[in-house]
Amino acid sequence: MADQVLTIPDSLSVSPPQIADETFLERLHGWVVTVDHKKLGILYVLYSVFFLFVAGAEALCIRIQLLRAHNHFLSAAVFNRFFTMHGTTMVFLVGMPILFGFANYLIPLMIGARDMAFPRLNAFSFWLTAFGGLLLYFSFIGGFGLYGVGSAPDVGWFAYAPLTARAFSPGHSTDYWALALIVSGFGTLGTAINIIATVLSMRCRGMTLWRMPLFAWLMFVVSGLTLITITPLTAAQIMLLIDRYLGGHFFDTQAGGSAVVWMHFFWIFGHPEVYVLVMPAFAIANEIIPVFSRKAIFGYPAMVAASAAIAFVSLGVWAHHMFTVGMTSVSNAFFTLSTMLVGVPTGIKIFNWVATMWGGRIRFATPMLFCIGFLFQFLLAGLTGIMLSVSPLDWQLHNSYFVIAHFHYVLVGAIVFNIFAAIYYWYPKATGRMLSERLGKWHFWLFLIGFHITFDTMHFLGFMGMPRSIYTFEPDRGWDRLNMIVSIGGFIQGVAVLIFAVNLVWSYYRGQPAGDDPWDAWTLEWATASPPPEYNFATEPVVRSRRPLWDLKHPEDPDWRYEQ
């Protein structure tokens, strides 16, 4: 498919905003002090893409070290820092901010609002998050004090007690881990509050809750979930710091404290957290799949209900990360059941997406390709999740590469794929230029191939008994060849991501002008200019259905005739 801009009916064309004459410093200043949700959204995305590279580079170092048995690329200590930083960065500095970035950019546009509910809180949250990230990486220099050797956190992203106690983790690396995440956690909390208030209080006329785009709906649910999941982590980390700095005993097993309590606290956060990450990815799919299938989303109310159900059920499944800590058989059975039940609402979503594509006219532009990849991979990842939820099976597979495979299938195969889809889809809106489709296709296929080479193979390493978090392995285990394959796949992904980076930069200057509505889409953000003016809409829009632009483009057959 050539680079081709999809045009839309003339009725929507508007003039591009004029670019003001500013010096570089003025522009920079403008970005730093901005409270505009669009600029903040872009800052979030750039920040996360940057850290995607950093954490991706760490992953590649991990893969070089595991290329073969007894490799000496990284020392044991450095390897442990790298996988901890890789996991922590990917979850907290890539996944969360990028998804909140999209929410920031899009929600006001989608609901026809001028800005977020609390613009200044919004800016504050971003800078808190950014500061948290820098603090985390500062540990490379400051972990043992500026004069000594640096040391990043090396206790795993789950930081199980009592490995985090002063006795086992001297220096300050663990403090950096806790402090950085507390700080960025407050940023996240602020953003979540902001999104909730925006969705509830800032909608344009006619935009009832049941007419909100699903994207806004899911972000609303996610923000609600964030309120009650990030905070337990903050609480637990405060306890950890009390232990480390004030000599408390929360997790001090020598003084009667319990290591298992930390696990509970961490996973009460950690499990819902993975849905906090994946639901924005769903939100993206909810926008992209219908537009490229040329059909309304199938079962809108069911999609909303399923999201709420996932959020609700996900609060009661955390102990499936703890099947091996010696819970009673009844608890194990309970958490097996509750975990499996999450599959039901999630299944509804998958089926509804397939039904949306069913009978449509699917256009395989890059965003849609990534979304189709997401559907396949998420299906498989969900099913491996179900296998892990079978607790006896988990006794075997827990902390093995099968788990690593499972969650990369979701985190990369679902979330990162959808993040890429979203960037290809909304980049024209944010910059006024299309990303190159040709590079996009290269990016997609290479990333897809690399992804499958890497993460499909990991499942087998898990079956073959390879534990995670090991910096090296014995040659007699028969893991050599598969590890080599995994590492090669990692590098293919690396190349794909580099192509993506090139595309981002090249298209910014040379991409085809996008026009306001390049994809012939239906939600309000496509009704304003690309990039949108600072005030978003000159007059407040009024909507009558879930797809206002559809109504506009198809006056003979508008949606509101069919919606209750």
């Binding site: 929507l12 508007v14 003039s15 591009p16 905003p17 509910a117 909390l189 979540a192 509050i193 902001n194 909730i196 208030a197 925006t198 509830l200 209080s201 800032m202 909608r203 006329r205 006619g206 935009m207 009832t208 923000s223 609600g224 309120l227 009650i228 999941t229 990030i230 905070t231 337990p232 903050t234 609480a235 637990a236 405060i238 306890m239 009390i242 232990d243 004030l246 000599g247 408390g248 005993h249 929360f250 003084a255 009667g256 404290g257 319990s258 309590v261 606290f265 309000l524 009704a527 304003t528 200019a529 809409f537 000159a538 007059t539 829009p541 009024v542 909507v543 206002p548 632009l549 506009l552």
Partner: protein, 198 residues
């Protein structure tokens, strides 16, 4: 300019949207409740698990007076809310300062309790699990009281300089919501620490 007025059809029934301040504060309260829940769970889990003394029964006294002060402050701030709504600024000032005084009395009470525990009973945060969980939970609550008081004081200053008007009722009520929350948390903390945990 980039404008499209979308569908100038009959505008739907105007939406009755909740105030964003109130929504924001309620969200914050939900988040904070989760933090407190974790600390309360930790406290309850570790009741009686200390390896060495002192135990709560030996050293804790039930702070009835303190509790009465804090809980009644909720009542006074409610009166203050009512006054500003009806634009009775003097009354508002009165009730508002009463609330602040009661908050301060509460804090002083806590400080005295801690003083006794530390210097008389030798219970610090590092003594045992009870000390760790007690100071953290009560301290977390006290921190919230301090933050609340600072904001109340800010409003007091602005009221004295004549910057607070009836039109600020909404914001005052949002702030009061936070204060009510802090009080409600105390009920939980009180029950857990001084009744169940003793």
């Amino acid at each position: 300019m980039s404008t499209i007025s979308l569908v100038p059809l009959t505008p739907d029934q105007p939406l009755d949207l909740p105030s964003r301040g109130r929504v924001g504060m309620l969200s914050l309260i939900i988040g904070e409740s989760a933090i407190f829940t974790i600390f309360v769970v930790a406290y309850v889990f570790y009741i009686g698990k200390s390896l060495y003394g002192p135990t709560p029964a030996q050293v804790l006294e039930v702070p009835i007076f303190n509790t009465v002060c804090l809980l009644s402050s909720s009542f006074f701030i409610w009166l203050a809310e009512g006054s500003i709504e009806k634009n009775r600024m003097r009354r508002f000032l009165l009730w508002w300062s009463t609330t602040i005084c009661l908050g301060i009395v509460f804090l002083v009470g806590t400080a005295r309790e801690w003083l006794k525990l530390i210097y008389h009973d030798g219970l610090t945060i590092r003594t045992n699990l009870f000390g760790t969980t007690f100071y953290s939970l009560v301290g977390l609550h006290a921190t919230h009281v301090v933050v609340g008081l600072l904001m109340l004081l800010l409003v007091l200053v602005f009221t004295l300089t004549g910057h607070v008007k009836e039109s600020h009722t909404e914001r005052i009520q949002v702030l009061a919501l936070y204060w009510h929350f802090v009080d409600a948390v105390w009920v939980v903390v009180f029950t857990v620490v001084y009744i169940i945990g003793r």
